[in-house]
């Protein structure tokens, strides 16, 4: 027969019918095959034009259909298989990836689709040439209608519900859906059959034969305990780096030396969420796939995506790769974490997903593999958002972050020019500082994060103390810039302005650090207070390193400084001492030895 004969065209229609049916079924059952967003993809492929139904990219499985489905008369059996975890959940992604032998997976066929072109044997009465010049056209039109109804039917059956669960949630689940396409399959056991219902579509006329489509399905899936996977309780870390709970009152010098080696890894260790490498993420559905192979019928035509490595989109391989890929991505990412605390592993890529899970329930799971890459930006945005408003308020600039003033001694002279500059123009510089601070914030997100780390969780080591010499200069920058601290010496400011600064500062302190939710933030501020506190006695010799620095930088500071304290009464001072003692105790209890090491010699 000529290739363009009726039967040839009919064969083509039947062949495309099989492909389209498979596409429709897989699209509505297998989450990983689901396209990103079909509505965004406006182009119409050649495969879309068949039967006037645009479905988007065909899964790679379909490309190989012709490979095994050689005979059009062979039935196409599509098994939709529910795979469930059998063992206790491991919190190690490594275990997941390695396909730990301890894991078992239960496979249950929840749907079996049968698509078959039935043709009468040759030699029977009905011949294709009988008034059916356009029979393939009729078949084509009827197939169009049928495939519309198949499209809807797949969404009405129970399995669609769990497919929706898997594909719309970024949470991991304790189950997965895989498929198997073959030309024959093991019949169901009696028990299984009793649990299933059958729906037969009206056969589609495809002279000389007919197209039969039927589905055997489980009407109830509630017996399977299909739940989101909770590998760990979603812990809300209130004082994570960059959170609003931490004191956002940080100051960043404009001349940041760019020291990068901060002790964030130790913060990571303390973090309950642990290192991201060991933390399970939302790709659990594919982990068991290497295990799943055991009881399939040994057939050369069995078409399991877990065995096929033809293409990366194959679900198990994709998931396996996705398991690995984010980790690799995260490796350099982790290094960056040392530079950019807002992205510290304690706020690992999955954490925001975790925390924001309630906000985005509809987040497609298929996009889970991109999550590690895309998540950091919101955090950084968040952190800068929290930080910058404070710097727009000059009065809040008066509360600098914690810095060990004792270490300023040696290098203060190096920074004195900048310090001088800043000190001499307090008012103007505040605005500059605000903008500089903001600028610094925007340019150096890691700085902001670092300082938030300073002020946040007290059980993490204070960053400043493990710095190298270059860090000290960095601190000097900070110290030099906190000219507005009332305890600071300033030869330019008149005493009353200093007093007002003090009052402002104290008010700010009370309103901010005391009023803030985070105790740790308050602790950081209070530590700073302790360190920068003026002596109770108005004696320049009793000044700490700060006064020495003041002397180095400015002459005649002592008088100004002492003049600053004139209006204070002893009772005020005693009260302050009491509060400082309390703070110190608090600090000691919280921070342990670190504070001790930071005491000025």
């Amino acid at each position: 027969m000529a290739p363009h004969s009726e039967s040839g065209k009919l064969e083509q229609v039947v062949s495309q019918f099989l492909l389209k049916s498979l596409h429709i079924i897989l699209d509505s059952r297998i989450p990983s095959l689901h396209p990103r967003d079909p509505t965004c993809d406006s182009r119409v492929r050649k495969s879309d034009k068949w039967f006037n139904l645009v479905l988007g990219d065909r899964p790679a499985a379909l490309d190989n259909l012709n490979f095994w489905h050689r005979n059009l008369m062979d039935p196409m059996i599509i098994d939709i298989i529910l795979v469930q975890q059998g063992t206790a959940i491991s919190t190690s992604v490594g275990n997941l990836l390695s396909g730990s032998p301890g894991r078992t997976a239960t496979e249950t066929v929840i749907e079996r689709w049968l698509v078959q072109f039935e043709s009468p044997p040759r030699g029977t009465a009905s011949q294709p040439s009988e008034g059916s010049a356009a029979s393939y056209k009729k078949t084509y039109k009827k197939s169009i209608i049928f495939l519309r109804s198949l499209y809807l039917q797949t969404r009405l059956l129970p399995a669609y519900r769990i497919f929706k669960q898997l594909s719309s949630s970024s949470q991991p689940f304790n189950f997965d859906i895989i498929y198997k396409v073959s030309s024959f399959s093991e019949p169901f056991s009696r028990v299984e059959e009793e649990m299933m219902k059958e729906y037969r579509f009206v056969p589609i006329e495809a002279l000389p034969g007919r197209l039969h489509v039927s589905v055997t399905y489980r009407p109830q899936l509630s017996e399977f305990n299909l739940q989101p996977l909770t590998t760990m309780p979603p812990k809300i870390i209130s004082d994570y780096v960059g959170s609003p709970a931490t004191d956002p009152l940080r100051y960043f010098p404009s001349s940041y030396k760019g020291d990068r080696a901060i002790s964030f890894p130790s913060k990571v260790m303390h973090s309950p969420t642990s290192v991201p490498f060991q933390r399970p993420h939302s790709w659990t559905s594919g982990f068991h796939k290497p295990v799943v192979n055991h009881h399939l019928a040994g057939s050369p035509t069995v078409y399991r995506t877990s065995q096929m490595s033809y293409d990366s989109p194959s679900p198990p391989m994709e998931r396996m790769q996705n398991h690995r890929r984010p980790l690799h991505q995260r490796a350099p990412f982790y290094d960056e974490c040392q530079l950019s605390p807002p992205f510290s592993p304690s706020v690992s890529p999955s954490t925001p997903t975790y925390l924001r899970n309630s906000e985005s329930p509809r987040q497609t799971r298929a996009i889970s593999e991109t999550a590690p890459v895309t998540i950091p930006s919101p955090i950084s945005g968040r952190s800068s958002r929290y930080i910058s408003p404070n710097f727009s308020d000059p009065s809040k600039l008066s509360l600098p972050p914690l810095s060990p003033r004792s270490t300023r001694l040696d290098n203060s002279s190096n920074e004195s020019p900048s310090g001088m500059r800043l000190i001499k123009k307090p008012e103007a510089s505040r605005a500059d500082l605000g903008s500089a601070g903001q600028k610094v914030l925007k340019d150096n997100k890691d700085d902001s994060g670092r300082f938030s780390g300073l002020l946040s969780s007290s059980d993490s080591p204070r960053v400043g103390f493990s710095r190298s010499s270059s860090k000290l200069s960095f601190q000097d920058d900070i110290d030099d810039c906190d000219f507005s601290c009332p305890f600071d010496v300033d030869d330019v400011d008149p005493p009353d302005s200093r007093i007002s600064q003090n009052v402002d500062w104290k008010r700010n302190l009370e309103s901010t650090s005391m009023g803030r939710k985070s105790q740790d933030a308050a602790v950081g501020v209070l530590v700073h207070m302790l360190r920068t506190a003026p002596p109770l006695r108005q004696d320049s010799s009793c000044y700490s390193s700060r006064s020495l620095r003041a002397e180095v930088e400015n002459d005649g500071v002592a008088t100004t400084a002492s003049g600053f304290f004139m209006p204070r009464r002893t009772s005020d001072a005693l009260e302050e001492l009491r509060s400082y003692r309390e703070m110190k105790d608090l600090l000691l209890s919280k921070s342990g030895t670190r504070v001790l090491t930071r005491e000025p010699p």
């Binding site: 509505t39 006037n52 039109k141 209608i145 109804s149 809807l152 009405l156």
Partner: protein, 217 residues
């Protein structure tokens, strides 16, 4: 050509459920009669755990919504009545003036009757019904409401299966698909202000189809 008629199973709906139910059914029917190139759009109902499919045609969506709004307005004026929404597909035949109408002749080849029994239990409210406004009658208990809702969901699902069955059983009467046309011309008829006019519409349609409509139970 015969006009195939399908009477869908009657649904007991509450006022606030009308919109979703009608949208679901009407779009499902049109989707099966949109035989041109279609990019299906899957919609999850809010009130029920049901997913249906639309053609993805914005114009169509707008027209259907308009009709639904008209129907809801009618229901508000005629509470506690069994009503029908009819969607008909027709072919445009030769334009020739007839004694009945001098417009183009429509040859209806398929009709679907959506039977609704709207239980008007809400209090009197303003004429406009906001889509998001849900009026709850405090008289009903929670169990009754949820039982009714579950029953409606089951019935709605049955209606959708009924549509699938019908479209697969009856295919021969469907006219050929024209190039460039996505869906067949259709008409949604809602009960008009007076019952008699509705009846006239029915008679008019019956005359136009030129045959006794086959009723499917």
């Amino acid at each position: 050509m015969n006009c195939e008629v399908c009477q869908l199973k009657e649904l007991e709906v509450e006022h606030f459920e009308i919109r979703e139910v009608l949208r679901c059914i009407l779009h499902t029917i049109v989707f099966h009669r949109a035989l041109g190139l279609v990019r299906p759009k899957v919609i999850d109902l809010e009130l029920f755990d049901i997913t249906y499919v639309q053609c993805g045609d914005g114009e169509l969506e707008k027209k259907i919504d308009e009709k639904i709004e008209q129907f809801i307005s009618w229901v508000e004026k005629h509470p506690n009545k069994k009503s029908q929404v009819c969607i008909s597909f027709y072919e445009v035949k030769n334009k020739h003036p007839s004694w009945f109408t001098n417009k183009t002749e429509r040859l209806y080849w398929e009709q679907w009757y959506i039977n609704l029994n709207v239980s008007q239990q809400q209090k009197v409210h303003s004429g406009k019904s906001h889509p998001s406004k849900i009026v709850v009658d405090p008289g009903d208990s929670l169990e009754e409401r949820s039982a009714r809702r579950a029953a409606l969901e089951t019935s709605l699902r049955e209606v959708l299966f009924q549509i699938i069955k019908f479209v697969n059983e009856k295919k021969d009467h469907v006219p050929p698909i024209s190039d460039g046309v996505v869906y067949f011309p259709y008409e949604v008829t809602i009960p008009s202000s007076s019952d008699s006019a509705f009846g006239m519409d029915m008679i008019k349609r019956m005359l136009q189809t030129g045959g006794h409509p086959t009723m499917l139970s």
